[in-house]
Assembly symmetry: C3
Homo-oligomer: 345 residues x 3
C-alpha cells in the first residue's frame, strides 16, 4: 500500500509543508528514516534528526519550529505521537485481515465456532470447545476439549491450550505459548515421586497479552488466573494456582512458583523469580533479576535484589559491595594500627 | 460426570454423615469450595474452613471431631488425603481417554506402532520410529526418524523429538518441549565459528516427567541422559552430554551447561544455573537462582547463592549484605576514633 | 552404515596399525568407547584412555607414541581432531538427506519455492513468501506472509516465523523457536495499557544459528537484527529493536531488553540479562548470570555480576562476600577493643 502526503494529511486533518504528492509505503524511526517511509517527531531530544533524516514524510507537532533546512515533507498535527499511533493502528488493521476457516484445520463436530473467525491450517479444535466471534486462530494451534476462547482474541501459530482452560475477550497469545500444562506437583514416596494429578484449569481474563514460548500451568485444583489487562512478555513461567493481578506487567523470563498471588498494577522487570505461596501487594515495582522470597505487604513498594529488599537500601548495599575488597583492607589496617596503639598505651 | 456422596463413599469404603444423594461433578480446595464440588480436610491448619466451605462433600479423617455446624456432607475415611488422591487418579484416568490413530497424522510406513496407541491430528512419525503400547501422542507432535518411545508414555501437543532419541516407559513430556536439538558446539576459526556436528542423541529413561517449553539438547557424541524418575519443570535448558540423576527434581527455568553430571535425588530450585563439565553429588539441595561454578563432592550438601556456597554460610553473608552501608559507616567511625585516639597517645 | 578401518584410512589418507577389517557404525568419546565405534585422541590429557577404551578404531596424530598395549586399531593422521571433524561432517551430511515437498504441507500459490528444497508435513508457507534453493523446512514449521528464507537454511520442526521477517543463507533455527512475535510495547493510559502496534520485522543475516525455544521479537518500527555468524543457544529472549553483532556467541537463557545493541565477537554466558537501550562494545565477555544495566564502551572488557562490573573486581568482591560474617565480627571486635583502649587513655 502506498499513500501520498495528501492522503495522510487528509486522514489526520493535518497541514502539509512540502510536496503533497510524495509517497510512503512504510514507517521508520526518524533517526534511521529511509525514502518512502513516514516518521514522527514528538520528543525534542530527537529534534536534531529531522534535518538529516531520509524519511519522505515527518509528522510534527503544530508548534514545531524548524532551525535549519528540512528535506522531508512535514505534516503538522495537534499531537505527533498520537497521530502516528493512529496511523500504526490503521496500518496494523489493514495487514491483519486473516479470515476464513481452513479446510486443513481439524475441528470437532461438537465445537461451537463463532461468526467471522479465522482458523488456520493444521489447527486442532477439540470436543465441546467454544470459540467466540472474530477469534483468530493461526495455523498449528491446539485447542483442547472443553476450552473456551472469547471474542476478538488472537492465538498465534503453535499456541497450545490444554483441555478445560478459558481465555477471555480481546486477548493476544503469541506463538508456541502453552496454556494449561500440568502443575509441577509430586508427592515423595521415599525413594521416588508419585505424580499428583493436576485437574484444575487456567483462566485468562479479558485484554490479556502473553508473549511467545510462555508456560502457564493449570491448577492442581481450582484455577491459575491471569486477571484482566495483565501483560506478560516472552518465556515466562506461571506455575499452578498462581494469580496475576489486573494490569500487572511482567518482562521476559520471569518465573512465579506455585500458589503465589501477585497484586494488580505491579511492574516486574526481566528474569525475576518468585518463590511459592507468596502474596505480593498492588502497585509493587520489582527490578530485573530480583528474587522474591517473602510476602510484600506494602502497596507501591519498590524492590531489588536476590533476595529482594527495598530498592534504595539494595542500591546502597550494591554500591558498598563493589568496594568490598577496599573495605576489607581498611579493616586489616585498623587492626594493625590498633595493635600498634595498644603497645603504646 | 456426576457422582453422589453414596457413589463416592462406596468407592472409598467411607462413612457418610449427611445427605447421601448430594451430587458433585468436580473437586475444589476446601477454602474456595463451591456447590457441586468435593473437597478434603487433612491438614488441621485448614480445619476452620470446613464450617464455611461451599463444597457439597468433604472427605475427612475418621477421627475428625467437628467443633461447629457443617453444611457439607462428610465422608469419613482412614486417610482423607490418600482417599482424595485416589479420586483424583480416577477422575484423571476417566477424562484422559484419548485413543485411536487419526487419519490426519502422517506416519511413516517403516514406523512400528504398538497396540492401543493414541496418535492425534497432524502428528508426524518418522522412518523406523518405534512406538510402544499405550503411548499417547497428541496432535502436532513430531517424532523424528529412528526415535523410540516406550509404553505408556504421553507426549503432549507440539512436542518435538529429533531423530535417534530414545524415550522410556511411563514418561510424560509437556507441550512444545524439544528433545534432541543440536548441542551448542562451535570451533573458533579466527574471526568466525565452524559448527561441530552434533551426532549423539538424548536418552530419557522410564518414569521421567518434563514440563512444557523445555530444551534437551542431543550429545555431541554419545548421549545426553535423563535418568529414571527425574522430574523437570517448565522452560528448563539441558545442554549436550548432560546427565541428570535418578529421581532428581528441578524447578522451572534452570539451565545446565554442557557435560555436567547431576547426581540422583537432588532437589534444585527455580532459575538455577550450572556451569559446564561439573560433577554434582547425590542428594544435593540447591536454592533458587543459585549459580554453580564448581563440583559438589559432598553428598547431601545444601547450597545457595551465585556463586553457590554452603546454605547457612550464604544466608549469613546475605544477612550482612543487607546492612553493608551501616557496616561501612562503622568502619568510617572506627577510623575517625582511632585517629583521635592516636593524637592523645 | 558400516565402515571398515580400511575405508576410513583410505578416506582420511591415514596409516592403519592393527586390523584393517574391523568395522564401525558410530563414533564415541574415547573415555566411553564401545565396540563398533570410532574415537579420536588429540588432547594428551585423554591419552590414558587409549589403553582401556572399548572403541574399535582410534584416530591418533602421526607422532603419537604408545606407552602400553592398545586393543583398538589405530589410524595415524596429520591432525586427529580435524580428521575426526571431517568424518563427523561426512556422517552428518549422509544422515540429513531430507528432501522433497510433502503433499501434506500447505503452500500458498503466491509463494516462490527454490530448487531442491525440503518442505515437511503440515508446514505452512504464507503468501508471497520466498524460499531459496536447498532450504530445508521441517514439519509443522510456520512461514508467514512475505517472509524470505535464503538458500541452504534449515528450519527445524515447529519453528514459527511471523509475517515480513527475513532469514539469511546457511542459517539453522531449531525447533519451536519463534521469530517475529510482537515486541513488548504498551502505552499506559492511566489505569490500564494500550498496545503499541509492532509493525517492524526481524532480519537474521547469513550463517546464524539459533537454538530451540528462543523468542526473537519483531521491531516496533524498523528491524530487530541478528548479524552474520552470530550463534544463539536455547531459550533466549531477544526483544524488539535489539541488534546482535557479527559472530557474537550467547549461551542459553539470556535475555536482551528492547533496543539494546550488542557488539560483534562478544561471548555471553548463560542466563545473562541486558537492560534496554544499552550499547555494548565489540569483543566483550560476560560471565554467566550477570546483569548489564549500563553501556559498555571499552572493547574487549570482561564483566561479571549483577550489576556487572569488571571481572577481576567482581571476583574480589565475591571472595570478600563469602566472608562477610567474619568481617562483621572483626568490626565488632575492633569496636570493643577501641572502647577498652579509650578507657585507658
Amino acid at each position: 500500500m502506498e499513500f501520498s502526503a495528501k492522503n495522510v494529511a487528509d486522514f489526520l486533518k493535518g497541514q502539509i509543508e512540502g510536496d503533497p504528492n510524495v509517497k510512503v509505503s512504510n514507517v521508520s524511526p526518524i533517526e534511521s528514516g529511509k525514502q518512502g517511509t513516514l516518521s514522527f517527531l514528538a520528543n525534542p531530544k530527537y529534534a536534531q534528526h529531522i534535518y538529516s533524516t531520509g524519511s519522505s514524510i515527518v509528522l510534527v507537532n503544530k508548534d514545531f519550529v524548524a532551525e535549519g533546512e528540512i528535506k522531508a515533507t512535514l505534516i503538522r498535527v495537534d499531537d505527533a505521537y498520537k497521530a502516528f499511533a493512529m496511523l500504526l493502528d490503521l496500518y496494523q488493521s489493514a495487514i491483519q485481515q486473516k479470515s476464513g476457516i481452513s479446510e486443513k484445520a481439524s475441528i470437532s463436530k461438537t465445537a461451537k465456532i463463532g461468526d467471522n473467525c479465522y482458523i488456520g491450517e493444521f489447527a486442532v479444535i477439540g470436543d465441546n470447545a467454544i470459540i467466540g466471534n472474530n477469534v483468530k486462530i493461526y495455523p498449528q494451534v491446539y485447542i483442547g476439549d472443553n476450552v473456551s476462547v472469547a471474542e476478538n482474541t488472537i492465538l498465534y501459530p503453535g499456541v497450545k491450550v490444554y483441555m478445560g482452560c478459558n481465555i477471555g475477550k480481546n486477548c493476544i497469545i503469541h506463538a508456541s505459548t502453552v496454556i494449561g500444562s500440568d502443575g509441577f506437583g509430586f508427592a515423595p514416596t521415599g525413594e521416588s515421586y508419585k505424580k499428583i494429578p493436576q485437574i484444575g484449569n487456567v483462566i485468562i481474563e479479558d485484554d490479556v497479552e502473553i508473549g511467545s514460548n510462555c508456560s502457564v500451568d493449570r491448577a492442581t485444583m481450582g484455577s491459575t488466573i491471569i486477571r484482566k489487562g495483565a501483560k506478560l512478555d516472552n518465556l515466562i513461567q506461571v506455575a499452578h494456582n498462581v494469580e496475576i493481578g489486573e494490569n500487572t506487567v511482567m518482562a521476559a523470563q520471569c518465573g512465579i512458583a506455585g500458589s503465589t498471588k501477585l497484586g494488580g498494577n505491579c511492574i516486574v522487570g526481566g528474569q525475576v523469580g518468585f518463590a511459592g505461596h507468596l502474596v505480593i501487594a498492588d502497585n509493587v515495582k520489582i527490578g530485573a533479576q530480583s528474587g522474591l522470597g517473602n510476602n510484600v505487604k506494602e502497596i507501591g513498594t519498590t524492590l531489588l535484589g536476590s533476595p529482594a529488599i527495598e530498592y534504595k537500601k539494595a542500591a546502597r548495599s550494591i554500591a558498598v559491595f563493589k568496594n568490598l575488597p577496599e573495605l576489607a583492607a581498611r579493616i586489616n589496617q585498623l587492626e594493625r594500627e590498633l595493635t600498634e596503639l595498644k603497645k603504646k598505651v
